[in-house]
């Protein structure tokens, strides 16, 4: 059932590509660059965030006023604030598209699990940085989000009260609260770059930037949105006030909408459960080698006696699964007799695609279940088959 659903989603995802390619050339399909687009918007967030940071004052009295000053009195301040606001949404859209596309197109299992896991952790940190951004304005919405978060954290068994105190920096909201929120906003955002290293470490030439046309389109879209729909604050936070509602940013604040129907603790539990499920997705529904068919031909194997240490496979492997090590002994073939290096396949990274086999001119790499010799036989049979079958 679930498997059939995934197969259907895969088919639908690729069907969508067919539609997009009626309009755009293949390699301009924005869905091929969701990761690059996310990185573009993250860069915009960092740059605009630094500019906003220069004006921001993390204190109970000054926070709201400093944001208002930025919005009203600083030249183009309202545009920067708007760009920061909408780039955050665009970023979340891009990473969700990235997540679902890679999920539905089967790019998360086996050796690719490290990228999936780092992606889930990136999602957690992005969500954290996103929602704490709404706390910093310190308007009625921030106040309400803070109180809902405190309620949710308090209902965590055993460590709840401690977590709530860590969150606001004391038993209640005080002067330590906003500096702490500022850290909770900027800290996770910085951590994203460490996590991106984890996300990229197994990839050779990761596509970290979309084509120029999409960069310009993305930036233009942000400028237009920021100018047409400027980001604004609600009424300033008042101690003791209990605001009724707030405008919701659906990409970051949806768990707080749930709090309308369930206790905040349950909303938190739901988010945690969703993320925990996300973490185990690569390990659910394991496919047998028969089901994976041509994608399970076994990890590439280096034929020691033929390897010349030429590094061609090392440069072509898209997953950084081949390392060149100093050759412990000369190879047997004439070309390999004087080698200095030897290719070694890192099994945990190899996705069994065979790109290294195509790269190797020395017959020094093989996929165990599709040997060079057998392919050559099939080619010769195909090239020479008698014309009897023709009609």
């Amino acid at each position: 059932m679930y498997r059939r659903l995934l197969t259907g989603l895969q088919s639908a995802t690729l069907r969508l590509d067919v539609g997009i390619q009626r309009v755009l050339p293949q390699d301009f399909n924005p869905l091929y660059y969701t990761g690059g687009l996310a990185n573009l918007f993250l860069t915009v967030l960092v740059v605009s965030g630094i500019l906003i940071f220069l004006y921001y004052e993390p204190s109970l009295e000054g926070a709201y006023a400093s944001v208002e000053f930025l919005t009203r009195d600083v030249p183009y301040g309202v545009v920067f604030r708007g760009i920061h606001r909408y780039a955050a949404d665009a970023y979340m859209v891009a990473i969700l598209l990235h997540l679902f596309r890679n999920w539905f197109t089967d790019r998360y299992r086996e050796a690719r699990d490290s990228q999936w896991l780092s992606g889930m952790v990136l999602l957690v940190f992005s969500g954290l940085a996103g929602f704490t951004g709404y706390l910093l304005v310190w308007d009625e919405r921030s106040q309400m989000l803070t109180s809902l978060t405190v309620q949710a954290l308090r209902s965590v068994p055993l460590v709840g009260h401690w977590l709530a105190e860590v969150f606001v920096g004391g038993p209640g909201v005080s002067d330590t609260t906003l500096p702490r929120f500022l850290f909770l906003h900027v800290g996770p955002a910085m951590a994203l770059y460490v996590l991106l290293w984890w996300h990229y470490v197994r990839l050779r030439h990761p596509k970290i930037w979309p084509p120029a046309v999409w960069v310009l389109f993305g930036l233009g879209l942000l400028f237009i949105l920021a100018s047409v729909l400027p980001a604004t604050s609600g009424r300033p936070a008042q101690p003791g006030a209990s605001p009724e509602g707030f405008p919701v940013d659906w990409f970051y604040l949806w768990p707080y909408v749930l709090a309308r129907w369930m206790a905040p603790g349950w909303a938190l539990a739901l988010v945690v459960a969703l993320l925990a499920y996300g973490m185990v997705i690569p390990y659910t529904l394991r496919e047998t080698p028969e089901e994976r068919g041509l994608r399970a031909l076994g990890q590439a194997v280096v034929v020691d006696e033929n390897c010349t240490g030429c590094e061609l496979c090392y440069y072509d492997c898209p997953y950084n699964a081949i390392y060149m090590v100093p050759s412990p002994a000369p190879g047997k073939s004439r070309a390999a007799a004087n080698r200095k290096l030897l290719a070694v396949v890192v099994d945990s990274r190899c996705v069994e695609c065979g790109i290294c086999i195509g790269a190797c001119p020395f017959e020094a790499l093989e996929l165990p279940r599709m040997l060079d010799r057998d392919v050559q036989q099939r080619i010769q049979r195909g090239a020479q088959a008698p014309a009897a079958a023709a009609t």
Partner: protein, 141 residues
Amino acid sequence: MATKTETAQGTPVRVVGFLCDWAVRSEGLLNPDDTLVGMPHVTVIRVPCSGFVKPGWLELALRSGAAGTFVCGCPMGDCLNREGNWIMEDRIDQLRKRLARQKVDPDRIAFFAYGLHDQQAFLDAVQAFVDRLRALGGGKA
């Protein structure tokens, strides 16, 4: 359709192709002997990724008597293994230049990029390729 794969002299145009597992859906596309439905002179070898194909194999196909050979990868940018089809396109460019120096017509090698749902477009492209080969004449054998 099968008769179309013959040259003017009546010699069948033999083609060996490689089809990436992530590209065109192969169900209903291949006969049990790995030839293409409706084109019994076109043998298709399914591979895990277009980047798996050694340029030497394409050369071998031509030297073994095939009039032409092609590789079909998935849409550029959509490679399941990130960049197999870009790498393969590049290798085929290099192979074409090398073959041109050896007086082998580079048009005998083709590279296609079609996704899961593009079966008909793929078949049309192969047919067009076979027609071009027919104009060029049969293979070496």
